[in-house]
């Protein structure tokens, strides 16, 4: 197995699918400023997906472009975490999903800037700058909603309760990670989880929110086993490429 290719697809799919979800908000945000912010973050994520999947295609060496990889795989070949494919629901769910994800991606990109793989390190460098803004934005909203009104507190607490079961998967590791860690291309997922936990506890504390007791955790995304939501995302995402195969746009 080409472990670097596999890893890049996992990394790129997280950006691709979350970017897709956020762009569903376009024109429907709770305030105009958030329409701007959410399209901006979606744009960053689509940009990340583009550079990561382009590199994945090069690493694979079978002549596939970033578009071939983004648009022309079957569902089981997508390797994003389950968290990012969860529906937008209300703004509280969207911001909580974003926060839990951003809090993972920031320390991840920090680590990857030190990667022995120069191309990956360069991608991480650029993505880190963007992710810092994303995290600031989502953390501020989680705090504002958690410590806002009773209604907003309840909504965002219930979002946390629902999404918590998808958080452990962000730190999923298997032989892919073990191989790349041994080569100095990626780094310890335990350290990553420690940074994430600290950030999450700190923000949830300020937001007066409580981590749910139920510790049950789902996984599968990294092995291509998804929730029912992904199929619908792909039906939209792939529509043009499937309906008009082999054309240039």
């Amino acid at each position: 197995m080409n472990t670097l290719f596999e890893y890049l697809v996992r990394l790129g799919d997280d950006s691709l699918i979350l970017g897709h979800r956020l762009s569903e908000w376009c024109g429907h945000g709770p305030i105009l400023e958030e329409d701007i912010a959410m399209t901006n973050i979606a744009l960053d994520l689509v940009g990340q997906a583009t550079s990561i999947l382009k590199y994945a295609g090069e690493v694979e060496g079978k002549g596939r472009s970033e578009d071939d990889i983004a648009f022309l795989r079957y569902e089981r070949e997508y390797k994003n975490a389950l968290l990012v494919e969860q529906p937008n629901d209300d703004f509280g769910v969207t911001m909580m999903r974003q926060f839990l994800f951003d809090a993972f991606r920031k320390p991840l990109f920090e680590q990857l800037t030190q990667s022995s793989d120069e191309q990956l390190a360069a991608i991480a460098e650029k993505s880190l700058k963007e992710t810092k803004y994303h995290l600031k934005h989502s953390a501020e909203w989680v705090i504002r909603l958690g410590d806002g009104t009773d209604e907003s507190h309840d909504r965002v607490q219930s979002a946390l309760n629902d999404l918590w079961r998808y958080t452990d998967e962000l730190f999923f590791t298997d032989e892919v990670d073990a191989d790349l860690e041994a080569k100095g291309i990626i780094f310890s997922s335990e350290e990553l989880k420690a940074s994430w936990s600290e950030m999450v506890k700190n923000v949830l504390n300020q937001a007066t929110l409580t981590i749910p007791d139920n510790g049950w955790q789902h996984d599968g995304g990294r092995r291509g086993l998804h929730s029912e939501h992904l199929g619908y995302i792909l039906a939209e995402l792939q529509y043009m490429q499937r309906a008009y195969p082999g054309m240039e746009w």
Binding site: C26, D147, T149, M247, W249
Partner: protein
């Protein structure tokens, strides 16, 4: 006495306008000038915001990553335009929330073009090329509008619109040079958007109730028909260049006037859509109303949080 003063103020105001001196928010201005501007600028702001919907409709289905990113950037620009246009209405004493409520109640209008559906990817090309093209033609003269904040906002808006127009034309060019299906898709989009795009300049000069006064106040610099003619003259050669056909059998070059003659516009359709009977009027306003309703609790929470923080700082 008061009467005389107002007359004198109006005389000085018109003198400034005649000398091309910009009117700024704190300057005296006739109430009707203020109201005309609020109406026009808020209509413009609403158009930007409602305009996000037909294009937002294709972001998740864009055919490749590059097109997706460009479309996202374009729609984001439009939200930004809406934001500074609403701010421009605020310099005239309008309230942003009230202005938005007028949109939702149907009292305020927005550009009718956005009441047409976007049915294929080619519509993203046609909207950029024709709709943003028409918008630029309307807005370039507004950079010289007599009201300062509006004129300055337009300078920035026009720069971004010209990128939008180019990306739209580029989509069309690519389709027109593509497969038979792609060519047909492009032609179909042009067929559907051509006439509504020409309607964007508003009713013929003879029927335009605001034009004369707006021209005297230099809010408007060209008449609707002048701008429409300009649009046709610029767009026809572009369509020819990429091998698409303008859906107008009466279209003909007129050597004498140095421009194209073109067919009769269906003004019944125009007024019908303005009145609310276009294919998507209901859906567009409904989507905006829902966004506001669903966001109510978010805005309340943000205000409550800000108030708590203020209290904490004070104590």
């Amino acid at each position: 006495m008061a009467e005389l003063n107002i007359q004198e103020l109006e005389r000085r105001f018109q003198e400034k306008i005649d000398n091309d001196i910009r009117i700024e928010p704190n300057d005296w201005m006739p109430e009707r000038y203020r109201q005309t501007l609020i109406r026009q600028i808020s209509q413009h702001a609403h158009s930007e915001i409602v305009g996000m919907l037909p294009e937002g409709n294709w972001i998740t289905r864009a055919p490749n990553l590059r097109r997706k990113a460009v479309l996202l950037a374009k729609v984001q620009d439009e939200a930004g335009h809406g934001l500074y246009l609403y701010s421009a209405t605020e310099t005239l004493g309008a309230d942003r929330e009230e202005t938005i409520d007028d949109l939702h109640s149907g009292k305020a209008k927005y550009s009718s073009i956005f009441n047409y559906p976007t049915l294929s990817w080619a519509d993203m090309g046609a909207v950029g090329w024709l709709v943003d093209g028409a918008a630029i033609m309307n807005q370039v003269p507004l950079c010289r509008c007599s009201y300062g904040p509006y004129a300055r906002a337009m300078v920035r808006v026009c720069k971004e619109e010209s990128f939008h127009q180019r990306q739209g034309f580029e989509i069309m060019m690519k389709l027109a040079a593509g497969s038979e299906e792609q060519k047909a898709m492009a032609q179909d989009a042009l067929n559907r958007f051509w006439w509504p795009a020409l309607m964007m300049f508003g009713p013929p000069d003879a029927d335009s109730k605001h034009t004369a006064q707006s021209m005297a106040w230099k809010i408007k610099r060209n008449t609707n028909d002048e701008l429409r003619q300009q649009m046709v003259d610029i767009t026809v050669p572009q369509a020819e260049m990429i091998g698409l056909t303008i859906p107008d059998p009466d279209l003909k070059w007129n050597e004498e006037k140095g421009g194209y003659d073109f067919g009769e516009i269906d003004w019944d359709e125009f007024w019908n859509v303005v009145k609310g009977n276009g294919p998507c009027n209901k859906e567009r306003v409904e989507a905006r109303r829902k966004a506001k309703e669903n966001g109510e609790w978010v805005r309340e929470a943000a205000n409550a949080y800000a108030a708590k923080q203020k209290m904490k700082k004070a104590s």
